[in-house]
Amino acid sequence: MIEKREKAKSRTSTHKENKYSLFSLAKNAVSKHKNWSQAWRSPELKPEYDIVVIGAGGHGLATAYYLAKEHGSKNIAVIDKGWLGGGNTGRNTTIIRSNYMWDESAGIYEHSLKLWETLSHELNFNTMFSQRGVLTLAHTEHELKEMTRRVEAIRLNGIDSEVLSPRAIKQIVPIIDINPQLRYPVMGGFIQRRGGTARHDAVAWGYARAADQLGVDIIQNCEVTGFNIKKGAITGVKTVKGEIKANKVGCVVAGHAGVVAEMAGFRLPIDSRPLQALVSEPIKPILDTVIMSNSVHMYVSQSDKGELVLGAGADSYNSYSQRGSLNIIEGMLAAAVELFPVFSRLRMLRSWGGIVDTCPDASPIISKTPVKNLYFNCGWGTGGFKATPGSGHVFADLIAKDEPNSIAAPFSLDRFVGGYLIDEHGAAGVAH
């Protein structure tokens, strides 16, 4: 009902502004912002699409955008069971970096980071990609050695990273406690200066708006309940709003990947678990970099609004309820106070959880499936926000060509058959 009225409204409106700029903002200020067009339409579901993308998270929306833009695909729908961007995209702590150890990971995440660097312009939507640096700490002899391995691999892959002494760290992060008497003293660290954060909602909205402008239909509140499969090939999708025919279907549903795969009759090597995050009340800037620590298990950044954004590891049990357990929060806040004593008197404002989809090797799946013309993109687990542009880009390529490109190829489902795993566990205990 809401949608119908909206449609009626959007049909009647004219002279809408759909290019964002300082000029258009000023012009619209004069007309009291009455002439902005809708960021995206709320179209009716059509009975048939060439390509249906399931999941209007960042990855799904990006996929649709690149399909429309780079592969000239027309007649695409992105469908979501809730509101667009309401999954992990709108719940994550937005750390972006490409300093992964394995070549395959460096490949996809660096591809993504390069796209981040021009994304706001690409989408004409400010995603607030802030290259404030991501600093990873080492607290034991063993971590220092692991760090050398990772830093050297990153360097030889041509990706930026810089090793820092505790003193240099203190200079970048004056509020950190580098007292050598700490339970796990800061012994060193390394920073990727091109890494940072972005505004998660803006990423979903920016891609949604840009995809919509290219004619992609974004259908919200439209849960997928099953598939139509004939002779091993996909022919359509069943949804709560009815059945749709589709030639190709890309599935990007993160924590629900296992559930949706089951609808198509196969299983995925995916664990779904709650991952929590929280923010403090907003305060004046005290932390200009993203800090991550494995031994003192937590990571933190300060948003542009002034809130400290904190996270740690996932809950240890499987669940689809977007709520985690309290002990995780207690652990991450103790870790935070341990490293940043001034946090103690600040206050937690909100905490929440999302369902993360993790593979046994902590790397994603970008792949064809046992069902022809059905493709899956999932398994990003605790760290897929940073991959949003890159993941959408290579997944669009896979859907369009029915063949993975060299960046996506290592992440095929087939690796679980052959055993060529890309194990990112060891490389990052807190993998964001």
């Binding site: 300082l22 070549d103 063993h142 796990y184 907003p282 004046k284 106070v337 055993g419 060529y420």
Partner: protein, 999 residues
């Protein structure tokens, strides 16, 4: 110093004999004990206390308690300062220092105020549309945006206070000690149920504290409260927690309560517990959280002096303060009349009541008339004036549909405005519990509907406005909760109640604004985040029509008050714009905590030394005394090396390594994980979890084993010994002890429940001294006479029990160094004495203690692996050159299938090899990467990395181990290690350096 001009002569319940002085923005003011910062400032006529987040508009006090959106204050200084504290939640004490936030240079003149004039340019979400030019300038814009944002300031150093945690169980937890909550407590407690009742205020009573026009059993409400509290205090199973906010509601009726234990007025120099975080498991929760008053939505509704009507009543009746001498009342319901009447009774000149209802008809209305308070019915306040405080309000007549204004403008002078827009039940915790809410048309708000946990809602929280009904619901809920949690109960008598009867509310939202060509007046929905009516309209126009999109795009409800006063108004407006029912618009999810909660309280005592326990061995005191350097290994602190005076690490390690090969070295090996395995299926179990054969291991012997994950990758290693039939002693790596036990239990409990095997961690039960070197047998022989230690009687991989230095011991003849060695296990409490004895007697053999570094070198000299160093979760036994340990005949073991997979049997996998730098002085950095060809600059393709690297005194040169692609096929090949400033050439060799590298 200013006098308390707005203090009433009589009203209020504070200690007027205890005047206190405090500072706000550098100025000294006076208040009384019992005042909050807000009431004391109001007593001094101070309304302007803050600036808003975005437009930096002057702001005053809006409400009382957790609902306050405006009056956020920086309290205290230095280490103990706290930002963003609601002025109404700080009790004042002598010497309190507080200041306003987010303004520059001063509160009265704030440069940020230009944003208010720029308002047109910076509507909701403007930042998504701009700051993109010139390209790459975002970081520059961001710098300024960051500095403009944020509210108060963080403390400057370590928190001087302390925090505690408390675990509790109870039958009934009552949240909120207003009339409903107190009635519930009374009823439940009389049944013998264990009851906890918590309230965030210092005095129990909730809304009763602000009312003077109600009577319960012919007593004033305050007296009734006192009686109930006295009764409850006398009951042994009732825990009363004032100053306690119930903050989180988790699964299985698990709730968190934050108790403030250090009263604000008590300033002390000793470290004290400031908050106690209660974690309570409850059979039945009763939510009596009351209602929150809703602001009215009209132009310039945010000026200092515009307050919620109920808050004003509370200031008068509880604190004896009037927020103004010439108040104006603006309402859509009867309740605000009570504020007017209370003011009149205190001889305050009420300017007028402006009531949007066309023909209000109630006892309260008549009383107001009788008291000659002017009432403008069918009128609305359409705008206000005043900078640091409201000066006047303009009122006009509303059309009958409430959508337009008619007639003349009237300007009414006033110094404060009490507004009341209706009431919202505080359903936050109910929603956190997973309960569903539904829209109620009469109240125009959401109320609880279906619960998913054992929780009852009563009184205001349930949407019940009148006192008699709330008390009744309370009593009933108390009884049924007690019953549900297993206590017998009879319903108590319902008290008699006198209270004003209230009539209907008329919801006019928003109040229409007058068209004004020159300035667009702002109509605020969310005060703290400066979200206006036009922001909501804009968001909807742009398609942000889901409540969650609306919230995120406009930031409505995302301030530190989490939208307590704004959410319902916002979604009612959205439903109007979309022309649908509010029910269809829905509600955003409430997220814990209910109100912002001190981070230190969650950390509790688990910081500093208690952040993570430090594990040390029984022999640790000796290491410390010997001046050992320590290394973190998981939670353990292990002796790393024992430098003598003026010795470098390298010198010390060389000495220790040499001693172990020439005489005797002694290592504290107590940290190795140890698991006692018993049961008739123990051998079968080991056979499944290790890659090699275990069914025929005779008692008195040991075997080395590798454990794989399902994917065929090495997970842990260790020696397991058959103590006797069906009884084994497993060792694991130090770091892997806990995860291996968890892994084994998981298999036993979930995959092989039919196996009769019992696992017990005994890591801490045994102290282990490992002696190693050619003379170790001689030494042991001196201390152990009941075992034949000869090679024949006690061969390699043998196990014996006997007495060493008079202590019953388990001796394992195993070796991690390639030398003759014995690992002597004794009960932990004997560890130190065994160690000292061995050293004492060992003197004549030139025994030398060695640490973990020497241990690493010794094993590397022989090419033995360390799990976690040579492996990283991607390495198979075959990659390690340990094919010999994989049984070809066993039907199955964990990881077996994986080892035969396509990519696991490929020849170009990374394989473990030795690496010798061509220049015999170069020590390759551990972790450095290996290439076939050095390019002038990255990227370069890597073929492997250095896993271990040491100087080996026994080989007389540095040695290294590495994982290299097809490494075993490359023996003798030269590869390169490109470091930042230079490249090192090295040759690939066998890993057994000691036997292959000539000195």
């Amino acid at each position: 110093m200013s006098s308390q001009r707005f203090r009433l002569r009589e009203a209020g319940r504070l200690d007027r004999n205890a005047p206190l002085k405090f500072k706000f923005d550098g100025k000294i003011y006076e208040g009384f004990r019992g005042d909050t910062l807000a009431s004391a400032l109001l007593a001094n006529g101070v309304h302007l206390v803050g600036r808003s987040f975005k437009y930096h508009r002057p702001r005053g006090h809006l409400g009382v308690g957790a609902v306050e959106a405006n009056a956020l204050i920086q309290v205290g200084e230095g280490n103990s300062t706290e930002p963003n504290i609601r002025a109404s939640q700080v009790e004042i004490y002598d010497g309190l220092v507080a200041s306003s936030q987010n303004r520059w240079p001063s509160l009265l003149f704030d440069l940020g105020g230009v944003n208010d004039l720029l308002g047109g340019l910076i509507p909701a979400g403007f930042y998504y549309k701009t700051f993109m030019w010139p390209r790459k300038w975002w970081m520059k814009y961001e710098y300024f945006i960051r500095r403009a944002a944020g509210l108060g300031k963080a403390p400057t150093g370590r928190d001087p206070d302390r925090y505690e945690k408390m675990h509790a169980h109870c039958d009934v937890l009552i949240v909120g000690a207003g009339p409903a909550g107190l009635a519930a407590a009374l009823a439940a407690s009389k049944t013998g149920a264990r009851v906890i009742i918590a309230d965030d205020q210092q005095t129990f009573g909730g809304s009763l504290n602000r009312e003077t026009d109600c009577y319960i059993n012919d007593k004033t409400t305050v007296d009734w409260c006192k009686d109930v509290v006295a009764t409850l205090e006398g009951l042994p199973d009732v825990t009363m927690l004032p100053n306690t906010t119930v903050s989180g509601y988790y699964e299985q009726n698990y709730l968190t309560l934050l108790e403030t234990t250090k009263p604000h007025f008590f300033k002390s120099t000793i470290q004290q517990t400031r908050h106690r975080l209660w974690k309570v498991r409850v059979k039945q929760v009763i939510l009596a959280t009351g209602m929150i008053e809703r602001p009215l939505v009209f132009a310039n509704n945010d000026r200092p002096g515009i307050m919620l009507s109920s808050a004003i009543r509370e200031y008068i009746n509880k604190y004896g303060v009037t927020p103004g001498q010439n108040p104006l009342i603006f309402t859509n319901n009867d309740d605000a009349y009570r504020t007017a009447l209370t003011m009149r009774q205190n001889n305050i000149n009420v300017v007028a009541i402006v009531d949007v209802r066309e023909n209000p008809d109630s006892e309260l209305f008549r009383q107001a008339k009788e008291m000659q308070i002017p009432v403008h019915v069918g009128f609305a306040v359409v705008t206000t004036r005043g900078y640091s405080r409201i000066k006047s309000a303009t009122i006009m007549k509303l059309s009958s549909n409430g959508k337009t204004l008619t007639g003349e403008r009237k300007v009414l002078g006033c110094d404060c405005l009490a507004m009341s827009g209706g009431w919202n039940p505080a359903i936050h915790l109910f929603s956190q519990s997973g309960g569903k809410v539904k829209w109620n048309d009469e109240l125009a708000t959401f109320i609880p509907s279906e619960a998913t946990q054992n929780v009852l809602t009563i009184g205001g929280c349930n949407g019940t406005a009148d006192l008699a009904k709330s008390l009744k619901e309370g009593l009933q809920a108390g009884i049924s909760a007690a019953r549900l949690s297993g206590n017998k109960a009879h319903p108590p008598a319902t008290p008699s109640v006198q209270e004003p009867v209230q009539s209907e509310t008329r919801f006019v939202l928003p109040i229409p604004t007058q068209k004004n060509k020159f300035v667009s007046e702002k109509v605020f929905i969310d005060f703290q985040n400066d979200v206006t009516l036009s922001d909501i309209q804009l968001a909807s126009r742009e398609g942000y029509n889901s409540v969650e999109h609306l919230k995120r795009y406009t930031t409505v409800g995302m301030g530190t008050d989490q939208g307590k006063t704004s959410n319902v108004n916002a979604l009612m407006l959205l439903s109007q714009i979309l022309d649908c029912e509010p029910e269809q618009v829905g509600y955003t999810t409430f997220r814990p905590p209910y109100a912002p909660t001190t981070i230190g309280a969650y950390a509790g005592r688990n910081i500093g030394n208690l952040f993570s326990p430090v594990r040390t061995t029984a022999i640790n005191p000796w290491h410390e005394e010997a001046g050992a350097k320590f290394e973190h290994v998981g939670q353990w602190m292990r002796a790393w090396y024992y430098p003598k005076v003026n010795e470098t690490m390298r010198q010390a390690v060389d000495r220790e390594v040499t001693a172990a090969r020439t005489n005797i070295g002694i290592l504290d090996a107590s940290t190795l994980g140890k698991i006692d395995i018993q049961g008739p299926d123990a051998a079968e179990f080991l056979n499944r979890v290790y890659t090699n054969a275990w069914l025929k291991l005779p008692p008195g012997t040991s075997r080395y084993g590798l454990m794989l994950k399902e994917d065929g990758m090495v997970m842990d290693d260790g020696v397991t010994t058959c103590i006797k039939e069906n009884h084994y002693h497993m060792t694991t790596t130090t770091g892997g002890a806990a995860s291996v036990l968890e892994w084994l239990e998981e298999w036993l409990q979930t995959e092989w429940p039919n196996l009769k095997v019992y696992l017990t961690s005994v890591t801490e039960q045994w102290a282990v001294a490992a002696i190693c070197g050619p003379k170790s047998r001689e030494l042991l022989q001196e201390l152990c006479t009941d075992i034949d230690l000869s090679d024949k009687a006690f061969p390699f991989m043998g196990y014996r029990e006997g007495t060493v230095a008079g202590i019953k011991a388990r001796i394992f003849r195993i070796s991690f160094t390639g030398e003759l060695s014995f690992e002597i296990n004794v009960p932990r409490s004997y560890g130190l004495s065994l160690w000292e004895k061995l050293l004492d007697v060992g003197k004549k053999y030139e025994i030398c203690p060695y640490g973990t570094e020497a241990m690493h070198v010794l094993r590397a000299e022989k090419g033995f692996i360390i799990v976690g160093q040579e492996t990283d979760g991607t390495v198979t036994p075959v990659d390690l050159g340990m094919d010999w340990i994989i049984s070809k005949t066993k039907p199955d073991f964990i990881g077996k299938r994986a080892l035969s997979r396509r990519d696991i049997i490929k020849a170009d996998r990374k394989q473990l090899v030795g690496l010798l730098a061509d220049n015999a002085t170069d020590i390759l950095p551990e972790g450095s990467q290996i290439v076939e060809e050095v390019l002038p600059k990255p990227p370069m393709s890597m073929i492997g990395h250095v896993t271990s690297s040491y100087f080996s005194p026994n080989c007389g040169r540095p040695i290294a181990m590495a994982l290299i692609k097809s490494g075993r096929d490359r023996m003798g090949q030269t590869v390169y290690i490109p470091l930042k400033n230079k490249s090192i050439a090295a040759t690939i060799t066998n890993v057994n350096f000691l036997d292959n590298v000539s000195k």
